[in-house]
Symmetry: C2
């Protein structure tokens, strides 16, 4: 009989961080408790009841009446693949609005499943222009899908969506929007903005552990999905098959992430208790206080105020400052996680998230104070307490 290898000496005891990066965000104790409830089978009445409740909650979150609102058993990247692969067949024309790393990931996926893709781009840190999209749709003709990120996590841009949707529909295309870094923290109105496909992750503005991802498809999108000539390129993420799990009585497709469903339900209850509108207003107020503090410290924000995403802020690293060392000091001194830049922003920006439970006045004050210390230590002059004072003033004014 096989002898298992000797026990690893590794003792795992994750620290209590303050997660102010691009996600995951801090998970409330209530949600962690819900996660640890007893696992039941996927045909258990308690679980199918939970799915029915989740569906109602998710429609409220997306602000949609879409019947086809569900979760994907995987991270936001799996939801992105489900969104794109279920619509795009080999040779289909797709126009991808690309203004950052994740918008570009949508393009890569549209190409991976055989789409004939063209791009409407904007510089990192700027939104995509609706007129540029209109021109590309007119030039090309016959586009089936337009893609964009609402909250672009790599740049901190909040992309206006309604005008892009109107342009897509004027040319007969579906509009697919990534709301991974925005839904539940920034206003998003799926039906009012006429969005056909939207998805998000659990671990950002919802403050639920990663591994389960809400997604919703409009009736117009479902007509396209049902009218495909070839099956979805992914078996696992095939929407029509996934939907059978959400019907009552349900059918087996795959085993859902049962405990993560518990946590998602609890995370959405917390949002319902606060009120989605109140939460969005609180995030905006808290972000504005942080922005005031950062600017008072002489740290320039990358994105102009009109397109700044409150849930993810990009800050330009001052000349002569070692950005990685600042992050390391925030982590070692205070357990605060912020992120560096991706792609063309690598080494040039910090990315600071104010998502879900991580978004609080106390975290903003602590971060600004800790940041002041880390910058001062590198000899970068910061007027003492200027950041915290400006943020406090703004918070008290609100």
């Amino acid at each position: 009989m096989y002898a298992a290898p000797a026990m690893t000496d590794f003792v795992f005891d994750p620290p209590q961080r303050i997660l102010l990066g691009p996600g995951p965000s801090d998970v409330p104790a209530r949600v962690l408790s819900a996660l640890a409830r007893p696992t039941v089978g996927y045909m258990d009445r308690s679980y199918t009841d939970l799915l029915a409740a989740l569906q109602v909650q998710l429609r409220g979150l997306f602000r949609t009446d879409n019947t086809e609102t569900l979760t994907i058993t995987g991270p936001g990247t799996a939801a992105m693949e489900a969104a794109i692969y279920n619509v795009v067949e080999a040779g289909d024309r797709v126009v991808c609005c690309v203004h950052g790393y994740f918008a570009d990931r949508m393009r890569q996926m549209a190409e991976r499943c055989g789409g004939d893709v063209t791009v409407v781009s904007a510089d990192w840190g700027k939104p995509v222009d609706a007129d540029a999209l209109k021109a590309e749709l007119a030039r090309r003709g016959g586009a089936k899908l337009v893609t964009v990120t609402h909250g672009e996590t790599s740049t901190g841009v909040r992309q206006p969506v309604a005008d892009l949707s109107a342009a897509a529909h004027a040319h007969g295309a579906l509009m697919c929007v990534d709301t991974v870094a925005s839904l539940g923290g920034v206003e998003f109105a799926m039906d009012d903005w006429d969005v056909d496909i939207a998805y998000t992750g659990s671990q950002k503005c919802l403050s639920v552990p990663p591994g389960i991802s809400p997604i919703s498809f409009s009736p117009r999108a479902m007509d396209v999905v049902r009218g495909r000539k070839t099956p979805c390129a992914s078996w696992f993420l095939d929407l029509l098959a996934n939907l059978t799990v959400w019907e009552r009585p349900n059918k087996y497709h795959h085993t859902g992430a049962v405990n993560l469903s518990y946590a998602l339900h609890e995370g959405l209850r917390i949002i319902e208790e606060e009120g989605l509108g109140e939460r969005i207003a609180r995030v905006q107020r808290t972000a504005e206080a942080m922005w005031a503090g950062l600017e008072a410290m002489g740290l320039p924000l990358v994105v102009d105020a009109a397109h700044r995403l409150p849930t993810l802020t990009t800050v330009r690293v001052p000349d002569g400052v070692d950005e990685a060392r600042v992050r390391a000091e925030l982590m070692s001194g205070y357990g605060i996680e912020i992120a560096g830049g991706l792609g063309p922003f690598a080494g040039k920006v910090w990315r600071i998230g104010l998502m879900g439970a991580s978004c609080s006045a106390r975290n903003v004050l602590l971060l600004l104070t800790a940041l002041e210390g880390a910058l001062t230590e590198q000899g970068h002059g910061v007027s003492p307490r200027a950041g915290a004072a400006a943020a406090s003033e703004r918070l008290n004014a609100g």
Copy 2:
């Protein structure tokens, strides 16, 4: 500002079941506690250290030295897609051994990603014959991949694997084995049996909640993956990109299921503490006791003793018995979950799982006693206490 819909009245409080179906199995309190530890970021040192420890644990579980041993962020179905999609390109020849629902799912996936598939089949309840595979590989020539399920959850067959591997390699094909219902409960030796790709789920013999799935690729498989002419049909499950998360220092690909990784680590520690060999022996002994009990009650087992999977037993429903009513009574009376049949076995068999923490002498005795009651209530004569007595005798003899 948008007003969220009124709070749902739904109160979620999942019951404590006894999960004796095809998975999920009962999750130990230790694992649920680990699941609820604080969420950290995917670049956190504590998390990357955890991944390194997990990789060592998973090599022990698969009994392999494969460097490319990792987890997929999704259910077993996602791991199945990762296994097949990363190898198969459009037009590649694939031979699928099909002897049940999940073996057939492998065939569907191989076709979905463009494989040119032929099938070697066996009747439900029987293993696939290695000679039949040899004949098909010789007849066809040029096969790139052979697929099979080791523990076929739909039928309760334990498929001998080593002979199939030898046949595949004699014809230059890779061997891919689904161990979702077997790994950690039934002997499986990836390197000794010369298996190139194997994967499992978390929620079966490992007794960890669903949503994270171990997978391993041999050097021979990696040569094929690295030598592809076209990229993997799935962006999300692209192995070479997924592997970057497991390198140190790691790179970002997607956000892993952080808390499920905690739980998987703890579940594997429990296996290490018991000893993998001891655990496999215990499962076998417990299953044999249950089989003795079921046979003493006059309930025929579908699979012959030589190929019976201890972790999942199929029992023929006696004539005149309403199988769904029996399952409903076990659930309502005792909170015991067992399953009905799939496909050609629907309405004809029960499927009883003895996986992970669910596999215990006390659960076997309770199940047999409860089953006796449910059958008696339908007027199906069972000799009183015959099942429990036969099982007890076997357990005491062991």
